[in-house]
Structures are given as structure tokens and as C-alpha cells.
């Protein structure tokens, strides 16, 4: 392909655009370092609002995601929170899930066209995030009220008791479970990653409520999954020449600072805070996608909406995505600040 045409895909960056990407990268990194995922979903629409073509935005976002996940997982591994074996098993099944997800997407695209595909993505977003986010939030509030240590979910305990060959043991996560229960969690993570690009919204709750890992281990292990899947996806996009390395490196500048702060934050706060942040973000993002649905329903002729309303709803939808990330960051930093003061006092008294 002509190199001049290749370069035309890439936009000219101004200081405001650079600043925007750096800040969103930092906040996204902070959230990812803390809950394992979910920090990157604002970046793709954010880059597109700067004029970056959709595929380049997705490719450049993914190319920043895997090194961020690598740095975050190394940091959290040092705190004893990462189960590499569990992460690799999950990533292997998630890889298969991604392929299945792409097949479903293509099938829907051929049946109902782009608007149908977009509606399917938005419906999946809302359904999965409301159900899973609701469960995570309810559990987090229960844990916050009881003030006790995190208990393994009863469903996970029951599944762990079923001796269905082959059984797999995970030392760091301190659990032993049949591969037949791990497989659907991994597949669902990949399926969601291919559909809404944030597999962790199912992967982390799946590891907590189905496999029986703690939220600390689940969120840290999700970073391993994000690294493996992100690397494979980035190589794929780079082979097609879609990565704008400048965008990737600017986001990385902010996100490497954020992801390590988020990882440090997990050692400060009580474990249910991970669930609180995750549940809050998921429910606000679900609301955001709800605002995007009338547009696709109108395109399919199922609803009548004026262009001005669609434009307004698009803006509201994006604003809620940004708000979800900001609320998550505020909760993380606030809880870190609150937890840091008594810890610092205790250290001073001990010295």
C-alpha cells in the first residue's frame, strides 16, 4: 500500500489532544491497576472524538493495554496477589472465546447490518453490566456492612467440591477446581472482550464468584489475562499496520504512572473496595450504553428519534463513560488517602 495513504490514517496531534490522552491514560491506568481492567473503554471513543479512525483507535488502545497490564501485574505479583497459572489458563480459554465472539459478531453483521451489530453490542453491554455489576455491588455493600474478612462465595465452594476430571490446583489463588468450571469463565471473558472490549467485567467477577478466588487475586490475575490477550491482539493489529505508535506512547506515559498507583492502592484498602469500584463503574457504564441504544433502534426502524436527539444522547453516553472512570478514580484515591493516614500513624508509633 502507498505509504502516503498509510500516513493519512494518522492524525496531527495538538497539545490539548496530547494532554487529554495523558490524563485519560493516567485515570484509566489507575482503575486498571486497582480492579484489573475497565480503564481503557473511554480511550477508544475518546481517541475517535479527536478524529482518529475507529480501527486505529482500537489498535492503538490495545497496544497500550498490554504493556500497562504487564507493568501492573509485575507490581501486584510482588505483593503476592497474582496467580500466573490461573491467568494463563483463563487467557487460553479467553482466546477461544474471542474467536467465538468474532464469529457471532460477523453472523449478526451479515443478518442485520452495522446498526444491528451495534444494537447487539449495546444490549450485551447493558445486560451483562447490569446483572454482573449489580451482583458485585450488592456483595460489596454486604461486605462493607459486615466489616469482616472476605468470604468465598457459596456457589464457588460447592463447585470446588465437585471432583470432575481434570481437576486443576492454583496455589496462589489457593483453590482447586474442575477445568469444566474454569473453561466457561474463560470463554465468557473472551466472548465479552470480543463484544464490548472489556473482558475483565466478566473475568474478575467470574474468578471471584464461580472459581472462588479473592477479589485481590482475581483483579491482579486479570492483568495477566489482559497482557496475554492484549499482546496477541496488538500483534494482529500491528501486522495490519493499524497502530499509531505516538497515541500508544502518549497514553502509556500516563497509564504506567496510574497502573502502579492503582496496584499500590490495593495494599492500602480493605478488599471489598475493589468490588465497590468495579460495581460502581459497571453500573454507570451500563447507563451510558443505555443512552446509546435509541440511535441503533432508530437505524433499524424500530424507533423514531431526531438527529439532534441522537447527537445529544451520544454526548450524554460518552459523558457517563467519562464520569464512571472519574468516580472510580475518586473512590480509589479517596479510600487510599483514608487508609494511608492510620497506616502512617501506626508506622510512626512503631518506629
Amino acid at each position: 500500500m502507498d505509504m502516503i495513504n498509510e500516513a493519512a490514517r494518522f492524525i496531527t496531534l495538538d497539545p490539548a489532544g496530547i494532554g487529554f490522552l495523558f490524563i485519560v491514560g493516567f485515570i484509566g491506568g489507575l482503575v486498571s491497576g486497582f480492579i484489573g481492567s475497565g480503564g481503557a473503554f473511554v480511550l477508544t471513543p475518546g481517541m475517535m472524538s479527536l478524529g482518529v479512525p475507529g480501527t486505529v483507535a482500537v489498535a492503538s488502545n490495545m497496544c497500550h493495554k498490554f504493556p500497562k497490564a504487564l507493568v501492573g501485574s509485575i507490581k501486584r505479583y510482588r505483593y503476592g496477589q497474582v496467580d500466573i497459572k490461573l491467568g494463563l489458563y483463563m487467557a487460553a480459554f479467553a482466546g477461544v472465546g474471542v474467536q467465538v465472539g468474532i464469529k457471532i459478531q460477523n453472523h449478526i453483521l451479515s443478518l442485520w447490518g452495522q446498526a444491528g451489530s451495534d444494537l447487539y453490542v449495546s444490549l450485551s453491554f447493558v445486560a451483562v453490566l447490569v446483572v454482573v455489576g449489580g451482583i458485585v455491588m450488592a456483595d460489596a455493600l454486604k461486605s462493607a456492612k459486615s466489616c469482616g474478612a472476605e468470604q468465598t462465595c457459596s456457589i464457588a465452594l460447592r463447585l470446588q467440591k465437585i471432583e470432575l476430571w481434570p481437576m486443576v490446583s492454583f496455589q496462589r489463588a489457593n483453590l482447586r477446581i474442575s477445568l469444566w468450571f474454569l473453561m466457561p469463565v474463560g470463554l465468557a471473558t473472551g466472548l465479552l472482550a470480543a463484544t464490548i472490549a472489556v473482558g475483565g467485567f466478566v473475568g474478575v467477577p467470574g474468578m471471584i464468584y464461580i472459581l472462588g478466588a479473592t477479589s485481590l487475586v482475581a483483579s491482579a490475575t486479570e492483568l495477566v489475562i489482559a497482557f496475554v490477550m492484549g499482546l496477541a491482539g496488538s500483534v494482529n493489529w500491528a501486522l495490519q499496520g493499524m497502530v499509531d505508535i505516538r497515541l500508544t506512547l502518549i497514553i502509556l506515559a500516563g497509564s504506567l504512572l496510574g497502573v502502579q498507583l492503582g496496584a499500590i492502592g490495593t495494599t492500602f484498602v480493605r478488599e471489598h473496595m475493589i468490588k465497590i469500584v468495579m460495581g460502581t463503574i459497571m453500573l454507570i457504564v451500563a447507563l451510558s450504553r443505555g443512552f446509546a441504544m435509541p440511535k441503533y433502534l432508530a437505524k433499524l426502524g424500530l424507533m423514531e428519534v431526531s438527529d439532534a436527539t441522537v447527537a445529544l444522547l451520544d454526548k450524554i453516553s460518552f459523558a457517563f463513560m467519562v464520569i464512571s472512570l472519574l468516580v472510580g478514580a475518586v473512590i480509589i484515591l479517596g479510600s487510599m488517602f483514608k487508609a494511608r493516614r492510620p497506616a502512617a500513624q501506626a508506622q510512626e508509633q512503631g518506629a
Partner: protein
Amino acid sequence: MQARKKKPVGKLLAYGLGSVGLYTAVYLLQDLMMANFARGGVYTVLPIATVFLFSWVHGTFAGTLWEVLGIDAVKKAPAQTAAQAPARKDTRPRAAVSA
């Protein structure tokens, strides 16, 4: 009295300079990079290797910066589940050989 941990200011400066150097190089060589990094095929190695290099240099700088600012992990407790289901005993009858 317990001695306070020495802050790695030298490491921060070294990796900070490295990070500034790398970002300056990207700024100065952006045209060359844009022309070659998005060619696909064997050129795929260029963006992938670049992000690994930046994660090492800028990632170490970022980690050291929080450490120097006094923001560090407060506990390194092993994160494990509170309870785990015991392995079920195999109660199936076994074939026994009596000689």
C-alpha cells in the same frame, strides 16, 4: 530507632532522564516512525518492541517516582481465600488382589 528507608533518588533521575530521552526521540523522529512502524509484516516488531522498551524505562521511572514521593505498599500480605473446599474422599470400591 529504626532507620528510615533511603529513597532511590539516583534511580529516579537515571530512569527519568531515560524516559525524557525516549519521548524526545519519538517527538524528533515521529515522521520516520510513522513511515515505518505502520507498514505491517515484519515491521510489526517495531511497535511491539518499542512499547516493551517504554514499559521498562518509563515503567521503572513511574514506580520509582511513587516510591520517592513516599507512596508505597503498606502491607504485603499473601492474598488467599478465606476458606477452601476440602478434596472429596474417593469412596468408590477398589479392586483388591488377595494372594
